[in-house]
Amino acid sequence: MKLERLSLRNFRQFRDADIEFSRNQNKNVTVIHGQNGSGKTTILNAFLWVLFEELQSIKKPERIATQGEMVAADVGDTVTVEVELIFDHEGSRHEVRRRKSLQKQSSDDLEGMEVDGSFVVEKITEDGNVDEPTNPESYVRQIVPDDLAELFFFDGEYISDLSGVDNQDEIQDAIRQMMGLTLMERSIKHLDWVEGQFRDELKDLGSEELQSLIQERDEVESEKEARERELKDKTRERDRLQEEIGTINELLTQVGETRELQEDREELESDRDELEDDVDEINDDLDSLISDKGFLTFAMPAIKETAASLDDLREQGKIPSRLDNEFIDELVEQGECICGRPLDEESPECEAVLSHKSDVTSDGLDQASIRLIDKLDRIRSERDGFFEKVDRLLKRRSNLDEDIEELSGQIDDISTKIQDLGQGVDDLDTDEVSLDELDLDAVESVSDLEAARNAKDDKLSNEIKPDITLLEKEIEEYKDDISELEDKIDEAEDEQQEADLARKRMQVAKAVREELELYYEQFQQSIRERADEKIDQTFEKVATKGYEAVITDDFELRIHDRQHGTPIEVDKSRGERQIASLSFIGSLVDIAREQYEADRDTDYFDGGIYPIVMDSPFGALDNEHRGEVSEVLPMLADQVIVLVTDSQWEGPVEERMGPHVGVHYDLDFDENGGIEGSPITDVTEVSRHKEVAD
């Protein structure tokens, strides 16, 4: 930040003033001379006001506008106060302007009420482009942190407080802020907070559930596999038994007496199989019907209650009872009545339905009510239709069961007849069939063969087939369970991934924070040593011999007596303290400049160019110290602006600082020279060195 010009319009006692600062490297000092009360502190405050809208150490700060302008204004008129600061920052010219319009409220009002105001920052780049930052307040604070402003724009009256025991917080804050330590502190603190946020996310994403679900899925899977193995065995046994029965059937057809019976039996069994298939089909239809419409049986109480309420309303005439024309048209279009009957075009049913159409149309609540009533009627009708269909299917199944039972009886009779024949087995052609293979080694007659066949058939029908049905059902249930568990596992895996991600992010936040903490410790120590060395060097040049300025481990500024071996803090005079404070400020500005010019590769502290603007900085110093400080300060800062009385300037200050001065201004204060005898200060340029026009 290199100051170029400060312009004041109606600001306190300055009606119209422009101060252009020296920016020459060798003549980097601008001196503004003024007697006590002439406005030196007001100029210092103009910097603070335009940048931060602050005023310090000033009498009646509420009176911002020039007194003469307020006196001259009529009640209701406005006086506009404006301060503009132009400076260069990192290669761009900046114009910062704060303006307030104050309306006079009464004849003796010298403060005015703010009725309008603006704060504008314009950044003019080297190629002439003008940018206006969207948040000018924030932008200015990035260039000059407001808590550092007191160091760059300081009042000499209070400067000595910096090195007082009670004001160490300001020292610590200043060093931390200037060197980028606060930036790291905030980063560490906020990363810790972020780490906590990810930890909370992790807590919400429980990861134990996934393991439990996977275990459960594996257990169900192994149960299913066991059933499948069992099913395979049973199926194999069923096939074997069916094959053996088939073989026996074949043998039985070889015997003349049994052939016919066996052929009849096969025909009956075939018929029975068909009937059993029909029963299976009916069972499937019943399942579907109950699944689709079964709810109607449970919903009916509520439907009946609603219908009853609507009937009441209808009886009371609160809702119409006519059918909705549109609804009737829909039914005809669908070709099915609410009772389920077909509505073929021009059929009596269709005509009957169409006869309900009314010439009067309904709308709004009426129409909605009609629709609701019709729907409820339709539901009642559907429910009745449901029971009718169930009854029909059950009746048909019952008939089929009877037929099956009858066929089974006939089949049993055939079996009995075969067993009663007493036919031997010698005539059987068993060349292709080994009775041993059929586990029939003890068979001596057809009767034995039939008994064996019946035993196998019993086992097949009463044991193996039911077992297979049960196993197939269980396997299907296990498959459903597995599918459900896998859906849950998918969800849990998604959560697990989120949890893993939250954990990883938490670890990253921690790693970056710990790295910053480590570097912070190292950097803080390095900064402390650097500040300590620089301040002591500066202090040594200007202070009484034998004293040293020290930055302690806690970043406190202390003055020690060097002569007593171990440094001892001494009770300093105001002058010594002021020297220490000036050394401190100058040293910080110098370190920032060194860092900026060195362009060091660091994320934390880029440094910067800062001016020093001092109001009456030499007041408490003796002549010797005034001279020393005057010589050192122009070397520490890139730009120095000094506001002094003539008596402070004359002598050693002028002698030592004079060679560095580029511009001199005088503040000409006239207590009654303004409008209607109000105080006013004019700023006059006294001299400008020829080298200053840079």
Partner: protein, 57 residues
């Protein structure tokens, strides 16, 4: 930069360095967040943007 005190498995150093730089830049940008923004700098978003599912095992 000093030796890193904490490593994160599966996350390269250059990613951690980039996050650190972005964190500090965001803090710098919002150094007056208390007075102007009233919100903490959005550091969480930086980590979420940098550390994606790609870094999971």
């Amino acid at each position: 930069m000093s030796e890193r005190p904490t490593e994160v498995e599966g996350v390269p150093d250059e990613v951690l360095d980039r996050i650190r730089e972005r964190v500090l830049a965001k803090e710098q940008e919002q150094q007056d967040y208390k007075t102007v923004h009233g919100l903490r700098p959005q550091l969480k978003e930086i980590i979420e943007q940098e550390i994606t599912e790609d870094y999971l095992d």
